[in-house]
Amino acid sequence: MRLCVKKKHNMEKFTTIQTTAVPLNMEDVDTDQIIPARFLKATTREGFGDNLFRDWRYNSDNTFKEDFVLNNKNYSGKILVVGKNFGCGSSREHAAWAIHDYGFKVVVSSFFADIFKNNALNNGLLPVVVSPAFSQKLFSEIEKNPATEIKVDLENQTIEITSTQEKENFDINPYKKTCMINGYDDIDFLLSLKDKVEAFENKSH
C-alpha cells in the first residue's frame, strides 16, 4: 500500500490519550445541535468551538444553561462520550471542527452517523466505536465518578477505563489509522495518484 507522502497541513499526529471525559448521554444528536446553521457563515475553520452545542449550552441572553453537561464543572477532559447515532443529519464538517476546536480529541459512541465519522477522521478527531454494553459502562463510571480517566490507544486500538481496567478493542480502517497516527492527509495521497486518474479518464470518457 502506497500511502500519503507528505504531512497534512493542519492535522496533528495522534498517539495515545488518557484524560477524564465528558458524558453527553443522549441519542440521535444531530449536527444542527452540534453547531446550528446560523454559525456556519465563517469562511475559515477556526473558532467554531465557542458555539459548540450553542442552543443547549446557552440561554437566549447568552448566560450558561446550568444543567447542560458541558457547563458542569465536574466534567472535563479531551474525550467526549456520546449516545448512539451521534452526528446524524447535515453533512456540515463544521460539527467536527467545533468539537475539535472546543478541545476534544476523541468522541466515543456505540454508533456514529456516516458522514460525521468521515468528517471527524479527516480532522484529527478520533471517533471510537464501542459496544452498547461498554458505552453504558462508560456513562455509569463517568457519571459515578467524574474523575474517572479513559485511555484511548490508537496504535493498539484499545479503549480502557483506567480505574476498573475494563478494556475493549475498537475497529478503525487501517488506512485511516495510518493517516491519523502520522498526521497524513487524503489529498496528498490522492494527488500522488494523478497518472492513474488521468488513465482512468482516458479509458472511460
Binding site: D32, L40, K41, N85, G89, L190, L193, V197
Partner: protein, 457 residues
C-alpha cells in the same frame, strides 16, 4: 456475477482499491455552494494548486441568500462575505457559477436535474447531505464534508468505503391524497433515523415505478434522514422523457439512452438488507417530534412509550403522548426546500389553494427551488393564484429549510414545512417544525390548523 444497479455504477468509477482501506472513486459531477466550500478553496490556495477539472464542478448560491430582492446587495455582512467568497473562488478557478441574478440560480439539488447535468450512471457529490436527491436518476450521489470537497476539487476523486446494499420495495397503489413525501416519511418512521446507516438504498416496486421524476427526487432526497449515504432508482422511460431536451444532456441523446437502459439491478442480485412496504398502508404523514423518524399517519396518535428521547422531543414541541395532531393550530407554512420546491409541488399546492383564502393566523412562505421554477410558476399564473389566496411567491433559495438567511420561524411557533428536517432549532431558534407533503401544507395554510387533507379533496 449478478450485480445491483449501485454496484454497476460504483464499480465503473473505482480508480484504485487500497488493501483493507477505502476505494478511490472518480467523481463525474461536483456541485458546490457558498457555505461548505470556502475552507476547501482556502486549502487549495494554501497548497498552491488549482481545481483539476473545473468543467466538472458547478456552483450556485442557495443556502444563505435572501428570498426577496435578490438583486440588491445582501444586507447581512457574513452572508454577503460567503457569497462574495464563492464568486471570487469560482473566478480564480474557472468554475461556472449560477449565482444570484443568473437565470439558472437555485437550490443546488434542484438545478442539477432541471439543467440535465444530473444523468443516469454518473457519480455526483456535493458538500450537502441531500445530494442523495440526484440518485432518482440512477446516479450515485451523496453528501460529503468540506475536506472531501477539497479532495474532489484537487483530484476529481474521493476516498470512500463501499457502502452496504439495501433495497426498499414499495408495491401497490397509493391512496387519495398520498404523495411521495408521505412514502418517504412513512419509510423513515418504520426504519428509524439510523436504520439506513452504512447502506446505499435502492428504491423499487410498482409504487415507486409509477412516480414522476419530481416525486422520485423527493424520495431519494430524504434517504439521508434514515442515515443512508444515498438512494438510487433505476432509470426508465419516465427518467429519459424527463431528461430529453434539457440543456446539458448528451448531444446524442438516443445513444446515451441505450446505455442508460442497461442500468438496473440483475434479477438474482442479492442485497444485504431488504424491506417491503405496501403502498395501501400509507396515509398522509406528519411529524410530531424532533427528528424525521418521529412521524405518524395523520389518523394516528403520538406514541405513549417510555423513552427519554420521545419525552425530550415532546417537551420541545409542546405536545403530549397519546395526542392526535388533527386540529392543532399552526403559525407558519413553508413550501420549499430541495425536498418539495419543484413545479409538481407548486402545481399541487396551487391546485388546492386556488379560489380559497389563507387562514388569518398563518404566515405562508412560498419559496421556489430555482429561478427557472419561479419563472415557470409565473408563466402558469400560479403567482396570481397564490396572491388571491393571500400568499406570496418569493425568490429561490434554501430559505426556512435551515434558517440561515432571514427566513426564520420565531421561537415557539409551529410551522408545517415541506422541508426535510425537524431538528430542534432547524428553522430558527426554538422553532417547532412539522414535516409534511405540499398537499398537507396547503390544507394547513387554508384551515390554519393541522388537517387531514383527504377530507378536503
Amino acid at each position: 456475477m449478478a450485480t445491483t444497479l449501485f454496484e454497476k455504477v460504483w464499480n465503473a468509477h473505482v480508480v484504485q482499491s487500497i488493501e483493507n482501506g477505502p476505494q478511490v472513486v472518480y467523481i463525474d459531477k461536483h456541485f458546490i455552494h457558498e457555505v461548505t466550500t470556502p475552507q476547501a478553496f482556502a486549502g487549495l490556495d494554501k497548497r498552491g494548486i488549482k481545481v483539476l477539472r473545473p468543467k466538472q464542478t458547478i456552483a450556485t448560491a442557495d443556502h444563505n441568500v435572501p428570498t426577496k430582492n435578490q438583486l440588491l446587495p445582501i444586507k447581512e455582512a457574513l452572508s454577503k462575505k460567503q457569497v462574495d467568497t464563492l464568486i471570487e473562488n469560482c473566478k480564480n478557478h474557472n468554475i461556472e457559477l449560477y449565482g444570484l441574478g443568473h437565470p439558472f440560480q437555485g437550490i443546488v439539488h434542484v438545478i442539477g436535474p432541471e439543467l440535465g447535468i444530473t444523468q443516469p450512471g454518473l457519480t455526483i457529490v456535493c458538500g450537502d447531505s441531500h445530494t442523495s436527491t440526484h440518485g432518482a436518476f440512477g446516479a450515485i450521489a451523496f453528501g460529503i464534508g468540506t475536506s472531501e470537497v477539497e479532495q474532489v476539487l484537487a483530484t476529481q476523486c474521493i476516498l470512500q468505503t463501499k457502502p452496504k446494499k439495501m433495497r426498499i420495495n414499495v408495491d401497490g397503489v397509493l391512496g387519495k391524497g398520498v404523495t411521495a413525501k408521505d412514502i418517504i416519511l412513512y419509510i423513515i418512521s418504520k426504519i428509524s433515523t439510523s436504520g439506513g446507516t452504512g447502506f446505499f438504498v435502492e428504491y423499487a416496486g410498482s409504487a415507486i415505478r409509477s412516480l414522476s421524476m419530481e416525486a422520485r427526487m423527493t424520495i431519494c432526497n430524504m434517504s439521508i434522514e434514515m442515515g443512508a449515504r444515498g438512494g438510487i432508482i433505476a432509470p426508465d422511460e419516465i427518467t429519459f422523457e424527463y431528461l430529453r431536451g434539457r440543456k446539458f444532456v448528451p448531444q446524442n441523446f438516443e445513444a446515451a439512452k441505450e446505455k442508460w437502459k442497461l442500468l438496473k439491478t440483475d434479477d438474482d442480485a442479492v442485497f444485504d438488507m431488504e424491506y417491503n412496504f405496501d403502498a395501501a398502508d400509507i396515509e398522509p404523514m406528519i411529524t410530531y417530534g424532533t427528528n424525521p423518524a418521529m412521524g405518524l399517519k395523520i389518523s394516528e396518535k403520538i406514541p405513549t412509550n417510555d423513552d427519554a428521547g420521545l419525552e425530550k422531543a415532546l417537551d420541545y414541541m409542546g405536545f403530549k403522548k397519546g395526542q392526535s395532531l388533527i386540529g392543532k393550530e399552526i403559525d407558519y407554512v413553508f413550501l420549499g426546500s430541495c425536498t418539495n420546491s419543484r413545479m409538481e409541488d407548486f402545481r399541487q399546492f396551487c391546485l388546492f389553494v386556488k379560489g380559497k383564502q389563507k387562514a388569518a393566523n398563518v404566515t405562508v412562505w412560498i419559496v421556489p427551488g430555482s429561478k427557472q421554477i419561479e419563472q415557470q410558476a409565473i408563466a402558469e399564473g400560479l403567482d396570481i393564484i397564490l396572491k388571491e389566496a393571500g400568499m406570496e411567491l418569493r425568490e429561490p433559495g434554501c430559505s426556512a429549510c435551515l434558517g440561515m438567511n432571514e427566513d426564520k420561524i420565531p421561537a415557539g411557533n409551529y410551522c408545517v414545512s415541506t422541508s426535510n428536517r425537524n431538528f430542534e432549532g432547524r428553522q430558527g431558534q426554538g422553532a417547532r417544525t412539522l414535516l409534511a407533503s405540499p398537499l398537507m401544507a396547503a390544507a394547513a395554510a387554508i384551515t390554519g390548523k393541522i388537517t387531514d387533507v383527504r377530507e378536503l379533496i
